[in-house]
């Protein structure tokens, strides 16, 4: 079976600033070292790791935002590693990215209508019914008021701005959605809304999702499979419940053990109390 997105032996090296001599090349730092993974349509693969693990660089390689040092990325069986021009433009339509900071990825001087339909213009698409109608539909899809198409990013909250970022990504019906710490900057209640929204949209649209995150509890709620990264390599990969339930690699175990937890006795008591309360409130 051909995977929707397939990465093989990805390597990314960066020159180290200040190490270049007059006659000697700069030293090189390997940010991503022989990383391979497969993503299927309708699935969410989470790349988790701490800072400097190479997870974001891997996502950028997969989305062709930066070029590989070596290795290949296939989208639907086509090698996209060396594409350029119109072919690359088409790849970029099919792979859309949602970033961490919603405001810095939205132009503050553009209306929401202009923002969410920008990928369509970039793709030089005909827009049936005009951009306003398309923008309104997109806002509705992500749970925003379609009447707000004329507003500017500063008139929205952080969670709403992230919804705008998601609407823009969906505008060109991507096959792959890359979420790079897309819920990390949000308050916990807003975070829950955005996770639910991503799950609903994925069910409806069937895109594959590459979900980059450092927060393991968030990953547990959204991923179908998980790849754990440290020092530029994947140390463990598997379906969600096996990685969380029976981690094999020492690093994964250490990572999971470090996550702060609410006292399980308090959690159990809270569930009992909530159940008792709802049965009281229910009409007899």
């Amino acid at each position: 079976m051909t995977s929707l997105l397939s990465a093989r032996d990805l390597v990314k090296e960066f020159p180290v600033a200040g190490t270049q001599g007059l006659f000697t090349p700069a030293k090189r730092f390997t940010a991503v070292n022989r990383v391979s993974f497969d993503l299927q349509a309708g699935e969410t693969l989470a790349l988790v790791g701490e800072s400097g693990s190479g997870k974001s660089t891997t996502a950028r390689l997969a989305a062709r935002l930066i070029d590989v040092t070596s290795g290949t990325v296939h989208l639907d069986g086509t090698d996209i590693t060396a594409l350029h021009g119109d072919a690359l433009r088409e790849v970029r339509r099919q792979i859309q990215v949602v970033f961490q900071d919603p405001f810095s990825s939205l132009n503050p001087r553009h209306t929401v209508e202009r923002i969410v339909t920008a990928p369509l213009r970039y793709q030089k698409r005909e827009i049936p019914g005009g951009t306003r109608a398309v923008a309104q539909q997109l806002l509705e899809r992500v749970g925003l008021d379609p009447a707000h198409v004329g507003r500017y990013p500063s008139q929205f909250s952080g969670g709403q701005a992230q919804r705008i970022g998601i609407a823009r990504a969906l505008a060109v019906r991507p096959r792959v959605l890359v979420c790079d710490e897309a819920v990390s900057a949000l308050d916990v209640s807003v975070q829950a809304q955005i996770i639910n929204l991503l799950r609903d949209l994925q069910r409806e649209e069937g895109f594959g999702c590459l979900f980059i995150a450092h927060d393991l509890a968030v990953v547990r709620q959204i991923a179908t499979s998980v790849a754990v990264m440290t020092d530029g390599t994947i140390v463990e990969t598997g379906d969600r419940d096996s990685v969380f339930g029976e981690p094999r690699h020492e690093y994964t175990k250490r990572l999971l053990a470090a996550v702060p937890r609410i006292n399980p006795e308090w959690e159990a008591a809270r569930r009992r109390n909530a159940a008792a309360r709802s049965s009281e409130e229910a009409p007899a």
């Binding site: 975070q191 470090a258 609410i262 006292n263 809270r270």
Partner: protein
């Protein structure tokens, strides 16, 4: 008697023709050696509360109400006397250690100077020794050598240890930590939380932990204030608030927390 008693604390920003309160009528008590967690989402007023206690509110903010620290009314204190308490008997740890450290001075110099600012007549040599001891206490390996390193030569977690070392050097009775682990990786966060617990065991310092992270606060605090839009919506022991939350907002907040050991289907959101 409580170490810290706060009554009717209100912080407001002056707008054109009216005041906008960001903290509205806060009351709480913190016993000696107690650990109070103040939790809330962005805009809840939790950080403004800590700045108000320290007397570090930004320009344009006004503070009313009463803050009594060990029998002294802080709101009536002239700045000169507040400076003697701040950083000495009440220490503060912020989220971003890099922006709290001066890049041009070695960490040893900075810990030593902070110490000397509160201990007049202490020689540089003694202060340097205090700095090394404080760095050893927060488990910075090879402290005698690293005392001469600059902030950029430390990792994020090590910088936060330097900040804690600085806070500890004067043996404060109260430590106010505002999101001390939010910028750190999860394994480093666990180490810093463990360190804070150890420090409290050893010194008996009271702690106010300000955070948005309910799991973190559940591991550290014995009492909780849940804040929303400048008001306390719920308070109690950590066990009470976590096992039987009374207020609908607290319940919604707890429902929205993703759990590492559990998949909870649809995450409920407020």
């Amino acid at each position: 008697m409580s170490l810290l008693t706060v009554r009717g604390l209100t912080v407001a920003f002056r707008a054109i023709n009216h005041d906008v309160p960001v903290v509205a009528g806060l009351d709480f008590d913190l016993p000696r050696s107690g650990a109070l967690g103040i939790v809330g989402e962005s805009g809840s007023g939790k950080s403004m509360t800590s700045l108000a206690i320290m007397g570090l509110l930004p320009a344009g903010a006004t503070r009313t109400g009463s803050i009594v620290f060990d029998g002294t009314e802080l709101t009536a204190l002239p700045e000169r006397r507040m400076r003697a308490i701040r950083g000495d008997r009440i220490a503060m740890i912020f989220q971003d250690p890099l922006s709290s450290l001066n890049p041009y001075y070695t960490v040893g110099t900075q810990i030593a100077e902070a110490y000397r600012a509160h201990r007049s007549g202490v020689s540089r040599k003694t202060a340097r020794k205090v700095a090394i001891e404080a760095m050893e206490r927060v488990h910075i390996r090879d402290a005698a050598r690293r005392v001469d390193d600059y902030p950029h030569q430390f990792s994020g977690g090590m910088r936060q240890r330097v900040m804690i070392a600085m806070a500890l050097s004067t043996e404060p009775e109260l430590i106010i930590a505002d999101e001390p682990t939010t910028a750190l990786d999860v394994t480093v966060q666990a180490q810093i939380l463990e360190l804070l617990a150890e420090v409290r065991r050893d010194t008996g310092a009271a702690l106010i932990l300000i955070t948005h992270d309910l799991a973190v606060v559940s591991e550290v605090a014995d009492h909780l204030l849940v804040m929303r839009r400048g008001e306390v919506v719920e308070s109690g022991t950590a066990a009470q608030v976590f096992s039987d939350p009374r207020h609908a907002y607290t319940r919604a907040l707890l429902d929205a927390v993703p759990r590492i050991d559990d998949t909870i289907g649809e995450l409920r959101s407020t």
